[in-house]
Symmetry: C2
Subunit: 226 residues, 2 copies
DNA sequence: TTCTTCATGTAATTAGTTACATGATTGA
DNA sequence: TCAATCATGTAACTAATTACATGAAGAA
């Protein structure tokens, strides 16, 4: 009943395991690669990424080989056959849908307790966030356009996540532009702003549209505009 | 140097404080209201919502009045003047941009380690998630269309978050339909799928478009289509 | 040779979750 | 009067974060 074996694997564990399926990495490389790629959809602190591989090893899913750089030790991890089996099995299990944390939006939810300027500033910050993230993402992806960038053979798989990422930044950006216009029209005291009920109706209608979309009916989405 | 005063307030604290600014609530009501509304953008376990008000009280931002229902005690919390000041001050501080956790997308990132069916199933699950969330959201919002639903006077503020929410569900839904089509065209072995470099170029272009959008230039967004 | 950045970790702390427990209320 | 659901919490646990520490390599 060793300690390590009892600790359950988390999504973070499988994310690391997935990277190990591509090639062996040192812990530092692993953490760096994680930050470059998966971080956008699975953000974790660096120190966590140093711990997880140990757990994989304890489960027999990875091997650790201790090496040295001068007097400093370092560890290279590699996936085992058992690790590959565990990974493919995980790919068959139902994963969690998206989970969003958005502090700025909580602030906007209580915008009527503050000033119009507060709201406007928060919206600008969200727009700037989208801009900065997009720029960063584009910088990371651009090398692939000239045949550079790591793991080009994995691009067929990667585009699925990449498109979601850009869709999301685009969404935040468009939404913030819209929100800025709305707030612009508010009176100085946000709590005195009049609700636009037509807008509410439109929002409900759009939610219904998604809710009523028949399962796996992919053609419809291109037929009907926004 | 009492314990409570030293604990820093978190976004969760301010979310609760914001609700208290609307009216006094029992802890149960508070937790319920949180689940109905803020949960989509700030998901927290129920038990957490029972703890937070105590912290607010320790900071002097809320008062707690112990009441009784039969033999059971219950607590009603109300905001103080100091609490209102703390809230408006928080609204002036820069908040965090969106943070996304999306396990299914991590699975898709490693789709080349599994089967085409695994990927298709994961995408269907994401679509179903969007459908279910949209339905739930629409159910919560619909009463407002007939003049019902709590805090109608706050709707001018609320639509900002509501629209973001629907935008997001819509995005997940559309993306999943697109992804389903893409995976459909894959060969049986996902790792043998050929990258579509035109698609990659398009994604980078879209990221650049967001990154290059000039600050606060809201008109442009309506002029240029997707 | 010194400064900075890259590389490699551990330790202390905490925010948050899961599990547990039980009284009150309502409807069949 | 029984079962189900609503209401009200506490306790135990853990995943993750922040802070700390330091060697190696490259630049100035």
């Amino acid at each position: 009943m060793s300690r390590g074996r009892n600790e359950e694997l988390t999504t973070t564990s499988y994310a690391i395991l997935g990277l190990l399926a591509l090639r062996p990495w040192t812990t530092y490389e692993l953490a760096k690669q994680m930050e470059r790629t998966l971080n956008r959809m699975w953000p974790r602190a660096r120190s966590k990424l140093y711990e997880e591989p140990k757990k994989l090893q304890a489960h027999g899913l990875a091997t650790a080989s201790r090496q040295h750089v001068g007097r400093r030790p370092r560890t290279v991890y590699a996936i085992t056959a058992k690790g590959r089996r565990a990974l493919t099995k995980w790919l068959q299990t139902p994963g969690q849908g998206p989970s969003l944390e958005f502090e700025q939006l909580i602030q906007l939810f209580f915008a009527d307790q503050g000033t119009k300027q507060d709201a406007a500033r928060t919206i600008r910050a969200a727009a700037e966030w989208a801009r900065a993230q997009s720029a960063d993402f584009a910088d990371g992806a651009r090398p692939y356009l000239t045949g550079q960038g790591p793991f080009p053979e994995r691009m067929a798989t990667n585009v699925i996540g990449a498109r979601f990422t850009v869709d999301f930044y685009d969404l935040v950006h468009r939404w913030s532009q819209w929100a800025a216009e709305v707030v612009e029209r508010w009176p100085d005291d946000p709590s005195a702003a009049e609700p636009d009920w037509a807008l509410v109706a439109d929002i409900v209608r759009r939610a219904d549209a998604v809710a009523d979309a028949s399962h796996g009916d992919s053609g419809d989405v291109t037929r009907s505009g926004r």
